[in-house]
């Protein structure tokens, strides 16, 4: 375990260096949120109106939270690194290191979001307070449960994105599959809460990782209840176990193939 702690620490240090660079990403986060504030201001005609059961403030806070998870974790870079290592053949050297490659990447990822997420959370809080107003019915006492859900959510996201990257063992370029996964998360989980979709589709969406990656944690922040929290946590643990298992499996198969082909 200690070696992972060392990896974590050095990534953390490196990322402090890049704090200014990370803050450059604020621009895009702000652009996204700004567009959505304008969009929902246009869509909600009367104050107090409900769309899919959400007030305007809740709707905007929902997007702010889902985008915070995506921007604050940046799972794309960890997935990109894995795909790059495999494609360049670099993986042959990393595979024999005294750590598990995927866990090493996830540790790096954790080191990265440990800096990024708090930065984005602070930004979201500021933008939200200034441009939207406080979250209706936000409970400070439940903040730890929310944080836990967010962290689990972004870890699950990274695990799934890593799984897709690991397909690079078999096909030359897995990026197109990353796009589709990202788009699915974006359209179904990030910009709208699931409730906005036709009733017939909703149960289907709740089965996808979207429910545990974005929708769950964001819903909890916008509209907290103890039962919902336990339900989401349970689903997340289930998904983490399944996704993690899948990741180890794909990696083992891929690594074996690598040995057969001699790298």
């Amino acid at each position: 375990m200690r070696k992972y702690a060392v990896v974590y620490r050095s990534v953390l240090m490196e990322n402090i260096q890049y704090a200014a660079n990370i803050a450059m990403g604020f621009f895009n986060y702000f652009v996204f949120i700004f567009i959505f504030i304008k969009l929902w201001e246009y869509m909600y005609r009367t104050p107090g109106e409900l769309i899919a059961g959400y007030t305007k403030e809740q709707m905007i806070w929902y997007v702010m939270m889902t985008e915070m998870i995506l921007f604050g974790s940046n799972a794309g870079s960890v997935a990109g690194e894995a795909a790059g290592d495999i494609r360049s053949g670099n993986i042959a050297y990393l595979i024999n290191k005294p750590y598990h490659y995927t866990l090493y990447l996830l540790t790096k990822y954790t080191g990265e979001w440990s800096i990024r997420l708090p930065m984005y959370a602070a930004l979201a809080a500021v933008i939200g307070r200034v441009m939207v107003g406080p979250v209706p019915g936000f409970r400070l006492t439940a903040v730890w449960a929310m944080a836990l859900c967010v962290i689990l959510g972004l870890t699950i996201n990274a695990v799934f994105k890593l799984c897709i990257s690991l397909i690079s063992f078999w096909i030359e370029d897995a990026t197109p599959f990353q796009w589709l996964y990202d788009k699915l998360i974006l359209v179904v989980g990030v910009i709208f809460p699931v409730e906005i979709f036709p009733k017939t589709l909703q149960p289907l969406f709740k089965l996808t990782p979207i429910y545990t990656v974005c929708y769950g944690p964001a819903k909890l922040i916008v509209d907290f209840s103890r039962e919902k929290c336990l339900e989401i946590l349970a689903a997340q643990l289930l998904y983490l176990a399944a996704g993690g298992g899948l990741m180890f499996l794909i990696y083992r198969k891929g690594a074996k193939k690598l040995y057969v082909n001699g790298g």
Partner: protein, 264 residues
């Protein structure tokens, strides 16, 4: 002068041809990239079906205008990344010292650099854009306008990226600026301008050139306005001149990777 231009064009065409040949080496990868990018873009239409179910227009745009907006943005962005992909990753070349090869050629450095690579997925963007505009039922005159605006949009996107990328000549740490702002610009370019008003509208015309690149062209396509058309053309020329000037000014500060060893 005209032979110089001809020679330059010959090199550019050869360069684009070689770039595409490089990407075509693996046909399966090439086709999945293009095809998935079309799908990827098409997925976003779901968002508009949802929004237009809630209200009959969004910022004054119905589905047809949304499709024109998306079509123009995707086609311009796509064409810019097919022909001038390197303009969008300039900081990497500047900081990594990868401009050397272009500087020892007796050709226009700027043109050689920006045409030196291509993006395959951009072909998907471009096809998607054309396809989407095709679904809008444009007449001949509108088609000609749409193609003209695809070109001006390409020029504006590329020139703006070039301008931002050139900042890296002065500030090494601004290497993320270009990617960030271009991404933000594309975000704006895929939402109706009707939802923005006041200061933000002003910014979209004068700071991030989304207004000139896509909003005005969509308005001209919906109802023709010669003054607006001329404004777009003039802006494209002006922005190109400013960006090229910034690039050449910055080139004097180019360090050719000599800093790499010393950088912490």
């Amino acid at each position: 002068m005209s032979t110089a231009v001809k020679n330059q064009l010959r090199v550019c065409l050869l360069s684009v041809q070689y770039n595409i040949m490089r990407e075509m080496v693996n046909k399966v990868t090439f086709l999945t990239s293009v095809g998935f990018m079309v799908l990827n873009n098409a997925a976003i239409l779901a968002q508009w079906f949802i929004l237009l179910r809630l209200r009959e227009d969004v910022g004054g745009y119905t589905m047809r205008e949304i499709m024109l907006l998306w079509g123009l943005t995707a086609a311009s962005f796509g064409l810019a990344h097919i022909l001038f992909a390197r303009a969008f990753s300039l900081p990497e070349l500047i900081i990594g010292g990868k401009l050397d090869a272009y500087l020892v050629q007796p050709k226009n450095v700027l043109v050689s650099v920006i045409t030196s690579s291509t993006s395959v997925s951009a072909i998907g963007d471009f096809l998607y854009g054309i396809l989407l505009m095709g679904l809008c039922g444009l007449g001949l005159r509108e088609w000609l306008l749409a193609l003209l605006f695809t070109v001006t949009g390409t020029v504006i996107f590329t020139a703006f990226a070039l301008l931002l990328g050139s900042v890296s000549f002065w500030f090494l740490r601004m290497d993320m600026l270009e990617g960030q702002v271009v991404m933000g610009m594309v975000s704006f370019a895929t939402y109706p301008d009707g939802i923005f008003e006041g200061v933000s509208r002003y910014l979209l015309y004068f700071v991030v050139p989304v207004g000139m690149a896509v909003y005005d062209p969509v308005h001209v396509l919906v109802s023709f306005d010669a003054a607006m058309l001329l404004r777009v053309l003039g802006y494209a020329v002006l922005l190109t001149a400013v960006s090229a000037a910034a690039f050449y000014r910055g080139l004097r500060r180019y360090a050719s990777g000599s800093l790499m060893g010393a950088r912490v």
